[in-house]
């Protein structure tokens, strides 16, 4: 077996110069300090994304993207297909877990200032990936064509329509018409299985390349302690030490997904009826709750702007500022300015948690 591996490596090296790549990866190291735990979340998100791709491909074998058949095809997968219940529930749970780990990864990178020079583009590609992941969540949610999915999509796309100027066009583009219909389902399916995976692949490749090229960032507070001699700079090889630890986490995530699928299977719901009124208490999935609650609390008019548009504008501007943080906070060391940005981050996180919790009041 070792001989076979060596032979394969030689074959690849003769054609693609793989030895150089291997050498580069062998020297990849992970800094060891009290914040090392956060380094695991990027890999965890990637692992869950791979789970999504694999389970998604399996679901593609049975799913039918039309209003007449979508719900029934998911029902068929849940009841008739061998282990279909497992694949479908894992896909739904893993989507939520992935958005959670991506959020943790994003906030940990933010608070540990890993977006500083030279890693600005790593942050930007990461943010694009985050928006793509939210897009996956939004488009995938409609696909079972049940009541919750239908009305969540109706409300969600309606918000786009409130933007002055482009609103009407955006609404028609998202829905494929005036209302949420089979046309919406078709294009959401197209986004979910073709467009977004394509964009995600490009963005992920860029993101991973940058991470490998630039190495792992050390938080400014730790850098300061090392510079002052209060802490020794310790590292761990990525291969195999950190990777083995990563794999422990991945196995644990696999176990958690299996348990969730078996004990809390994802609901089928009732088939969407466009003529029925929206169910009372309809709300989006947890990752959109803070925006939903904000829009509910805004008055119908904010200065001269329509309330809903003001909310969307606010979130868009906040999002743009968040993406541009590496170009605004150019502090290299640990300083008072750094603390201001930390404060803003705490505010953002607190706002999201509070607004999400208020929905359940």
């Amino acid at each position: 077996m070792p001989g076979l591996l060596a032979g394969l490596t030689q074959w690849l090296d003769d054609r693609f110069g793989a030895a150089a790549l291997q050498e580069f990866l062998r020297h990849k190291t992970i800094p060891l300090h009290r914040h090392t735990i956060w380094y695991y979340f990027g890999g965890m998100t990637l692992f869950l994304f791979v789970i999504q791709v694999l389970t998604g491909i399996l679901l593609l074998l049975y799913y039918r993207p039309t209003p007449n058949d979508a719900f029934e095809s998911v029902q068929y997968v849940m009841t008739q297909v061998r282990f279909g219940w497992l694949i479908r529930s894992v896909h739904s749970w893993s989507a939520n877990l992935m958005i959670f780990t991506a959020s943790v990864h994003m906030f940990s990178v933010y608070f540990l200032k890993a977006y500083r020079k030279p890693r600005e583009l790593t942050w930007v590609t990461g943010m694009f990936l985050f928006f793509i992941v939210l897009g996956f969540g939004f488009t995938g949610y409609l696909l079972p064509w049940n009541t919750l999915a239908y009305f969540a999509t109706k409300v969600g796309t309606q918000m786009g329509g409130s933007i002055p100027g482009v609103g009407k066009w955006l609404l028609m583009f998202l829905r494929g018409g005036d209302e949420v219909t089979g046309a919406t389902l078709t294009r959401f399916f197209g986004f979910h299985v073709a467009v977004l995976p394509g964009l995600a692949t490009i963005m992920l490749a860029a993101h991973l390349l940058l991470v490998q090229r630039l190495g792992m960032s050390v938080p400014p507070s730790i850098e300061a302690r090392i510079a002052e001699g209060r802490e020794k700079s310790t590292i761990m090889p990525f291969f195999p030490n950190f990777l083995l630890r990563d794999m422990i986490g991945w196995y644990a995530a696999l176990g958690a997904l299996g348990a969730l699928a078996a004990i809390f299977p994802w609901e089928l719901g009732t088939k969407a009826d466009p003529f029925a009124p929206a169910p009372a208490g309809i709300r989006p999935e947890w990752y959109f709750l803070f925006m939903f609650q904000t829009l509910k609390l805004l008055p119908s008019k904010v200065l001269f702007l329509d309330g809903e548009f003001a909310g969307i504008l606010g979130f868009s501007l906040a999002g743009m500022v968040w993406v541009a943080v590496p170009f605004i906070d150019r502090q290299v060391g640990f300083s008072r300015v750094t603390r201001i940005f930390t404060g803003l981050g705490v505010f953002a996180l607190g706002y999201i948690v509070l607004m999400s919790a208020l929905v359940f009041k």
Binding site: Q75, N241, L244, A252, G258, A259, I263
Partner: protein, 416 residues
């Protein structure tokens, strides 16, 4: 100065004239005078603003005659056509003068019937009034006098949800009803009925007093007994009952059909316990052990009980399966057929034929058995999944342990 005073004075007079109550485009001395009076003389002027006749553009003189342009007492001169308030016995004709005139009523509301007066004449109220009994209800007793609202107005005394209270004004008064020797508990019984509950919940098609007893006429035409009215809504039940052994037998014995078992005013939601030979059964009111009716009742109630029990068992197991997260929608569809069978069987009870009831309970039993089987399979599958989860978690824990040991082994060796 003088001219200014004249203009000002005329303006004041004009203003006062305009501001007087009940001002309409035409002068109405009835309202302008009666609105200043107290008590019974003043009330009509105050009430009439909300009356449906006022909304239609009618004024006092349209019914009562007289001259509304005359401010003096001459306005109420019989020579000028003043008719005044009619005596109780003349009220139906008073209202009927317009309401029985089709061509007149068509101008205001073509939808309105114009047979109320002729219907009323056939009723007990109408016949007694003709004989001189002024205690009975006439038009104004139910509809009001000067504040008459449309029947479709929920504040009207004759709006479906208010009818029982309107009838009860007299019919629940034991002093008023004493001389007629009729009971006064009908309204109290009705309020406990399932019909009253449905009506209060918003279904205005649910029966109230006038639905069975008629509103202007005594009974709906062509029917000999109020008990026959039930079949106008509960069609299948009535048809099956008529063809059953009880149909002819009840008629012979002078028993009031549906009312015999279901009561007339306090009609409650029936229970399966009413059928059979138990303590709550209506059958044993007449039937005794040993007779054919007793045996039939017993068989029917046993079949119903078996189906109910089977259905409940299936429902319980499917609910348990659902709680564990299993998808049982096709089993639920199967069970809904069993539900349908129960409903149809309860209708078939009115044939009083165990064979007819059995024809419906047997397929119902098959459906609930299938649903139960599906529920059992779902629970079995759920257990299997949890066992599979347990097994895979063991392997996962072993893999994690293996990795942890490998890490420990690797890092305990001194680095080269």
């Amino acid at each position: 100065m003088g001219r200014i005073k004249k203009v000002l004075g005329s303006s004041v007079v004009l203003f006062l004239a305009l501001a007087s109550p009940g001002w309409t485009e035409t002068k109405d001395s009835c309202v302008s005078c009666h609105s200043t009076l107290d008590g019974a003389l003043g009330r009509p002027a105050k009430d009439f603003g909300s009356d449906v006749h006022h909304q239609a553009g009618l004024i006092c003189s349209d019914c009562h005659g007289g001259n509304p342009e005359d401010d003096s007492m001459d306005a109420m001169s019989p020579a000028k056509g003043f008719r005044g308030a009619p005596a109780k016995a003349k009220v139906p004709e008073f209202c009927g003068k317009c309401h029985s005139d089709g061509s007149y009523m068509r101008r205001y509301n073509p939808k309105l019937r114009t047979d109320q007066l002729s219907q009323y004449a056939t009723s007990v109220h109408g016949q007694r009034l003709k004989k001189g009994d002024t205690k009975v209800a006439a038009c104004v007793d139910c509809h009001g006098v000067h504040n008459i609202l449309a029947v479709s107005d929920s504040r009207a005394p004759v709006y479906p949800t208010n009818v029982a209270d309107t009838c009860a004004r007299c019919h629940s008064d034991s002093h008023s009803m004493a001389e007629y020797k009729i009971p006064t508990d009908q309204a109290a019984h009705y309020q406990k009925s399932v019909h009253a509950t449905i009506l209060t919940d918003g279904d205005t098609s649910a029966p109230t007093c006038t639905t069975c007893h008629g509103n202007h006429g005594a009974t709906p035409p062509g029917l000999t007994s109020v008990a026959n009215v039930c079949g106008t809504c509960h069609v299948f039940f009535a048809q099956l009952f008529q063809k059953s052994p009880h149909g002819a037998a009840f008629e012979e014995m002078g028993l009031p059909g549906c009312v015999q078992c279901h009561s007339n005013h306090e009609i409650l939601k029936p229970s399966d316990e009413w059928v059979g030979v138990g303590s709550k059964s209506v059958c044993i009111t007449c039937h005794v052990e040993g007779d054919a009716g007793y045996a039939a009742a017993q068989k029917i109630s046993e079949d119903l009980a078996k189906l109910n029990q089977s259905q409940q068992q299936a429902e319980n197991i499917l609910a348990t399966a659902e709680r564990t997260g299993m998808e049982v929608s096709s089993a639920r569809l199967e069970l809904s057929q069993s539900n349908e069978a129960i409903v149809k069987a309860r209708v078939a009870v009115h044939t009083l034929d165990p064979a007819e009831v059995g024809k419906l309970t047997d397929p119902g039993l098959k459906s609930s058995a299938k649903a139960y089987e599906a529920g059992t399979a779902a629970l079995h599958e759920s257990n299997l999944r949890r066992k599979g989860l347990g097994l895979s978690l063991i392997f996962i824990v072993m893999a994690i342990a293996g990795l942890a040991l490998k890490i420990r082994e690797m890092e305990s060796k001194p680095r080269p």
